[in-house]
Symmetry: C2
């Protein structure tokens, strides 16, 4: 269930309604980890540079699952581990992520730094970057999701 003050209770604007889901400091970082960094487990996401705290991470994973943006399966070889991954709605956020990254690369030059090859593809061959990212996700899925 959504929250009392969710924008979607007052507005049908796509940006407003999307912000009920992605409009906070952490949600898109969880998506980023699942989409670009090969992280698929709770402990992996905890280890990201930004230092998300355990309760926030648990909450966001729960919210994203309940919204159908991510899903999870038990690790095939270890019952204590759990694998999270993006569903199609989650994967479709790649276009949002990419545009945020391009904007930040252009306008937050003092603070942002992207590895040269990654940046080159992002800026000069955005389509290829998207394709490549999707291919990597598919590869992973073929290994871990039936």
């Amino acid at each position: 269930m959504g929250k009392k003050n969710d924008h979607c209770n007052y507005s049908q604007c796509p940006v407003a309604c999307a912000l009920d889901i992605i409009g906070d400091r952490w949600t898109l970082l969880v998506i980023r980890d699942l989409m670009f960094t090969g992280r698929h487990e709770y402990k992996d996401m905890l280890s990201s540079d930004e230092g998300i705290s355990t309760n926030i991470l648990a909450d966001r994973l729960k919210q994203l699952q309940s919204r159908g943006i991510i899903a999870s399966v038990p690790h095939p070889e270890n019952k204590t581990r759990k694998l999270y991954y993006l569903t199609q709605p989650g994967k479709d956020l790649i276009h949002v992520m990419i545009q945020i990254a391009i904007w930040a690369d252009k306008h937050l030059t003092g603070v942002v730094s992207i590895p040269t090859d990654t940046r080159d593809m992002l800026i000069n061959n955005t389509g290829a970057k998207i394709q490549y990212t999707m291919q990597e996700l598919e590869k992973w899925e073929k290994e871990f999701i039936v």
Copy 2:
């Protein structure tokens, strides 16, 4: 100055650093108002459907100005009024806004509703939507900014 817990203090990731600026429930709605709805004054943004409160709006306008994403001028014919507008970094967020809107239109079908013509251009002629939006902003600027 940024806040103590800003992601950019811990990470150089473009998404993380961007979230220090746009990662909350209200900032992108202020951008939306300035970008797509022809709102340029404090009172206009207060009147948007989502019901932003006066202190939050004042705070976000201040933050966005200090980051150079928006700017303001006194109303040419009325000293009590003030006109806010997007700078180039602010305008460049159009690609982020458009992708969020496209994603929400596709995946939040129960809650999102976009006027038919607007939606048609957004989905089927995204480039034209961007061009048109920029043209409208330029028109406004020619009238109100020197």
